[in-house]
């Protein structure tokens, strides 16, 4: 019974925008004919603020980029600074970074799967995922005292040694995690309603994904075989044996379910890292109290839970970065939304948005 087009403003404060995003949607009946994400509601000027902080003081700012996966922004920034200043990170610190970042990937993907579930109305699956996220966050709390903004990875290493018994706690977690993932797989992804809600919705083909710079699970769901941990190896990743799960259809189902398998792969990586880790220093020696790298610039990127997260830092020789720029995967992934959401219904639109798993702290910066 469609008559005329209806303009609907979703957000900036809406249960399903996963942060503060405004979607200007035009509807023909319930069919989306046009969608435009209006971003910037969470813009805090982090890149500009960074120009007035010392290199160490910028680390807490990077926590506020992707607040669902703070460890990643910490690490990407620290890698750029280390490259700029030529700092060698001790091996134990590299292992710890890998462990916490893979844990962070699990925590972040739990949010991604959980929001896919919540968007389709499966609130229980959402809480099952959050139960697992809670366990990871407990581990982080034991590690650095913070539950959301860790400020744990620092230029030159990590802030604190692993507390006593932490490795055992971590092993206990990764032992139960894969079976919990299989439970969610059966409970949510195996459900007939969830399948008809997610399959064939918001199809993103591989070429479009590459053309728009989509990365991470959102691209791998479309079959783009690209993972920086394997394709541009950094840190100690070459020492681990792991697979990169790929989807084939590029629909919401694949994008959401890829995250599930990635969590299981993360468990494999953590297990190997826990086996290989050896005692040693956790912070590079001989670091000056105030870092002031020689003039120059450096870029480094890592595979975050959302995709390729890059940080570009320019130094003019002063103790403050001359410029810091973040290549944010959430921003690039969100940009593809108008491409893939048109022609589906309003209900699908929010599921598609959820399956891209944007975090607006990182989109708006």
């Amino acid at each position: 019974m469609a008559t005329e087009e209806l303009t609907l403003n979703i957000g900036p404060s809406h249960p399903s925008t996963h942060g503060v995003c405004r979607l200007v949607v035009r509807l023909d009946g319930e069919i989306v004919t046009h969608v435009e994400p209006v971003i910037g509601h969470l813009h805090r000027g982090i890149e500009k603020i960074a120009e007035n902080r010392t290199y160490l003081q910028v680390v807490p700012l990077t926590d506020r980029l992707d607040y669902v996966g703070s460890m990643y922004a910490n690490w990407a920034y620290c890698r750029a600074v280390e490259r700029l200043a030529g700092i060698r990170v001790p091996e134990r610190a590299e292992y710890i970074r890998v462990i916490v970042c893979e844990l962070q990937r699990i925590a972040s993907h739990m949010m991604g799967i959980g929001s896919s579930a919540a968007d389709t109305g499966a609130t229980s699956a959402f809480l099952y995922a959050f139960d697992q996220r809670e366990k990871v966050i407990d581990l982080f709390e034991a590690l650095c005292g913070a539950r959301l903004t860790y400020n744990y990875v620092r230029p030159g290493g990590v802030a604190f040694e692993l507390p006593d018994g932490w490795i055992e706690q971590c092993r206990a977690f990764i032992e139960q995690h894969p079976s919990a993932m299989l439970t969610i797989d059966e409970f949510f992804f195996g459900n007939a309603i969830a399948r008809v809600r997610l399959k064939g919705i918001g199809v993103l083909d591989a070429d479009t994904a590459v053309a728009w710079g989509v990365s991470g699970p959102a691209a791998r769901g479309s079959g783009v075989d690209w993972d920086l941990r394997r394709d541009d190896p950094y840190s100690v990743y070459p020492r681990f044996d792991f697979d990169v799960p790929l989807g084939s259809n590029g629909d919401c189902f694949d994008r959401a379910r890829i995250r599930l398998w990635e969590c299981i792969e993360s468990c494999r990586i953590i297990e190997q890292a826990l086996d290989q880790i050896e005692p040693g220093p956790i912070m590079a020696e001989g670091l000056p109290r105030l870092l002031a790298p020689r003039p120059g610039d450096a870029y480094d990127h890592i595979e975050s839970a959302r995709g390729s997260l890059g940080v570009y830092v320019v130094s003019d020789g002063s103790p403050r970065p001359y410029r810091m720029k973040v290549r944010s995967p959430a921003f690039c992934n969100l940009a593809v939304l108008p491409e893939i959401a048109v022609g589906y219904t309003l209900s699908d639109l929010l599921v598609i948005l959820g399956s891209l798993d944007p975090v607006f702290g990182e989109v708006d910066r």
Partner: protein
């Protein structure tokens, strides 16, 4: 006043108030509510006369079907513009006179057919069934065919509008 005459008074009040509202109100949703009151009053009237099946069917088909359809059409057709949609009318003495005249004529011509309205006894639904499927089977089937034709007509009209 007995419960029954109270029921009759209620039914008549509902019908008249609803009809007057539906004819004179301007805002379209209020017209719909008035129409709902009228339809409800008709159902109450049926119930008072003892045709309980007809009363329930009235609520089912009219309130749940026809009225909802009308409100639905109003909402889909005019929800976007934000103004309070009003129904335009052209009140004039001529149409009022014609309407009143027809009503009066009806009353006068049918007056003799009515005796004193007796308070009827309760009637069950099963004699309705035997009536519908017995002597009035042809009419019943014809009504079915008519409904089908109406459905087809709706589809054709809406399709034609879409193509434009």
């Amino acid at each position: 006043m007995t419960a029954q005459s109270a029921g009759l008074a209620l039914a008549i009040a509902l019908m008249l108030a609803g009809a007057i509202g539906a004819v004179l109100l301007k805002e379209v949703m209020r017209v719909m509510i008035a129409l709902g009151a009228f339809l409800f009053g008709v159902a109450a009237m049926y119930a008072y006369l003892g045709y309980s099946f007809l009363a329930i069917a009235q609520v089912f088909v009219y309130v749940g079907g026809v009225l909802v359809l009308m409100v639905f059409a109003v909402m889909t057709a005019r929800r976007a513009d934000g103004e309070r949609p009003a129904i335009v009318s052209r009140h004039d003495v001529g149409s009022a006179a014609v309407a009143a005249g027809v009503g009066a004529m009806l009353f006068l011509s049918l007056r003799t057919a009515f005796g004193d309205t007796s308070v009827p006894v309760s009637r069950s639904a099963s004699d309705l069934a035997s009536e519908l499927l017995g002597p009035r089977l042809v009419a019943f089937e014809a009504a079915g065919v008519f409904l089908l034709a109406a459905l087809v007509a709706v589809a054709v009209i809406l399709k034609g509008g879409e193509e434009r």
